[in-house]
Symmetry: C2
Subunit: 415 residues, 2 copies
């Protein structure tokens, strides 16, 4: 990490003045640093979309990787009869195909090489739901947190967006690449698992923002300011480490919450009311007591009437770690969704977040934060959780086994 | 046009070696050429997404404009009680807001300036369905082609994707910009019209392809090779001209066909079979009798058995203009869609095209081509038309009225 600038760290991508793209893809996932000089096909136009995020590494890519522009999150359920051997075969096949897709190579047996020409920072990341441990006969190994989250009082969960056996997260800066990689994996896995749901999301396109900028959601909210940014923070918050069995080291967990956001009622508010609910300004995400996005909020500050500048029910106050609990931090990696209103709906919108977060232990990290939000976050007036699932995210891989697993979950599946 | 290179013509965008983007947005819509030097916010990284396509001009932008990465096509129906005055007010408001959004400015009254920072080549294009002419009491002025298309034998039209009173096409290279502009127009128009459907689509991202490259659909097919490219071709095929009443000059028509593509059965084919059905190669879209995409197909060429090299039922053969009918050409501007399979479906995919094409007269241009395809295109085994609508696309605008209408359809609405 030390050889990387903050900017390279945050973006995984820099472009030289001459127009060739220098891809520096080291990131806090601790993966080997890949540098590659991409050719410039048309004079002075850099092809940002040649950028490659290394598939192999200590941790899976797509977690610490700066969020790309498009997301397909696909929940799969096993077909009947899948056993440990079948799960191993599926993971071997998916890992090999994903390694190739993420390197801009056509997977073996694919007849669509023309659709794999622009890797566009694609990452493909796999997670195991609770039932994998049953199917492979290893319930005793299942982490205690790999189970339905506690119920929160305001949840309005729809089974349609519930727990699945497996999840695949495909992210890239090119919607065609994201689509084709998804299609390839759905097809190649069809004998083992079928799509239960697909959640599509987007962020501002690569190039449409200052590199490293925190993304915004559809409320205009800067979302992800308190994310880990340094390697040590990732080690503290995200990566499962020495305390865990060998097969878990370097892994993580994903919490998926589908969150509906009521644009119609939010937009009735004036800007001061929106900012009061958030506890941050809309223009740059600074806490209401500060000037810059990364200023620490001052929850003791009061206004001329003696009232707290940052409301005790604001999102920024409720989302902070409880006193004495610095472990209540995690990595947010949310995507926006924005679909047509449901037929017959009075709503003008059907928008929200595919909220994804990563942490060592959802019960120690996500749950206490969500409990506090559920109790009193003023944003609850405009947001509703409508889907929920938890996955174990196996450690990273290496093509030749020198770095541990060659395929997702090998350490568990071959234990 | 003469001062523009072919590349500038095709892309509307060039990037200088120093990293600043020089936006040269003239295109065959004949709009005033805007050149603007965009600032470079982070050293050597060009912000492609500062690129602006001029909103005003002789023709609406978003027709001749090279297709951007993302599409929201929104079909609106009027609420009860809308009359000519109301349509004028809606069009005035939508045109003003769109002019600002397309210039990277916040529309008047919008409280979300942070969501309008990267115009990303956004275009907003408006069309009138047949019922507009009833609502404004001008049925006598309605073009004969502004009516349901003839039925084609293989159509499986779903009312869900049918004709609406109005259509708005939002395209940009940034999904967040496309989403926010859509939201703004839906909200600002809510007293006049409500969303009936929204069709979202995508193409390869800007920067993920060689500028000017013909887009591919999810079958891997290069789609749009025979599109008009020169100004005279646009005049011949797309823009309604002198023969028409004053208020129609510079306008066009849009045909929307939602086309389902069966990925599961298509992908069973080997590459030669796919190419035989298309009549073109998959790798570069060349006709099977040629080497380059733009080579003319030789329909007389035969193989060693005396059989035509290009099958008489291939897509390329059936889609060509009938002999003696050079007017059977049009501008294709299709977008891919790729959604989750319908719940309970045996299909692995739910993919296809939001097929949009523009022409002077759908009955003289689109209809004869579609009749031939419907009769015998081999691609019919894998594609099904499931939605259909036709719109009149008003002429372009100018902010001060010097170039004609200041808002969409003014010439018609104030006649």
């Amino acid at each position: 990490m030390s050889s990387l600038t903050r900017r390279g760290f945050l973006t995984g991508l820099s472009v030289t003045a001459g127009g060739a793209a220098l891809v520096a893809c080291a990131s806090p996932d601790g993966n080997p640093m890949a540098q590659q000089e991409t050719p410039d096909p048309v004079g002075d136009t850099p092809r940002l979309y040649d950028a490659i995020v290394p598939f192999d590494g200590e941790h899976q890519a797509g977690i610490a990787t700066p969020a790309q522009a498009t997301l397909n999150l696909i929940g799969f359920n096993f077909v009947d009869g899948v056993d440990r051997g079948a799960v191993s075969r599926l993971m071997t096949s998916w890992s090999e195909d994903s390694r190739r897709l993420c390197t801009g190579e056509t997977p073996l047996g694919s007849l669509e090489p023309e659709l794999v020409v622009a890797p566009a920072n694609i990452t493909i990341t796999c997670g195991f739901g609770p039932r994998v441990f049953e199917v492979i006969g290893a319930v005793d190994k299942r982490p205690a947190w790999l189970a339905p989250l506690p119920e929160y009082s305001l949840d309005q969960l729809d089974e349609k967006w519930g727990q699945t056996d497996l999840v695949i997260q495909v992210c890239s800066d090119d919607p065609l690449m994201t689509s084709h990689a998804t299609r390839h994996l759905v097809r190649s896995g069809m004998d083992y698992a079928r799509v239960q749901w697909m959640q599509q999301g987007f962020l501002r396109a690569d190039g449409a923002h200052t590199p490293g900028e925190t993304p915004r959601n559809l409320f205009g909210q800067v979302d992800g300011t308190i994310n880990p940014r340094e390697e040590e923070q990732f080690d503290e918050q995200v990566w499962i480490d020495e305390g865990a069995p060998e097969w878990m080291r370097g892994s993580s967990s994903m919490v998926m919450r589908r969150i509906s956001m009521n644009m119609d009622t939010w937009e009735i508010l004036d800007r001061p009311s929106r900012e009061e609910a958030l506890g941050r300004t809309l223009d740059n995400g600074a806490p209401l007591t500060g000037e810059d996005e990364f200023d620490d909020p001052d929850f003791e500050a009061t206004d001329k009437f003696g009232l707290p500048v940052i409301d005790r029910q604001s999102h920024v106050f409720r989302a902070q770690p409880a006193e004495g609990h610095p472990e209540q931090r995690l990595l947010r990696r949310p995507y926006n969704f924005d679909l047509a209103p449901e037929p017959g709906s009075e709503q003008l919108s059907n928008s929200g977040l595919v909220f994804l977060c990563f942490q060592k232990d959802p019960l120690r990290q996500y749950d206490p934060i969500q409990k506090r939000l559920d109790e009193a976050d003023r944003m609850n007036e405009w947001v509703t959780h409508i889907g929920s699932a938890v996955y174990w995210m196996p450690p990273g891989t290496s093509a030749d086994g020198s770095g541990g697993d060659t395929y997702w979950g090998q350490g568990l599946l071959e234990a």
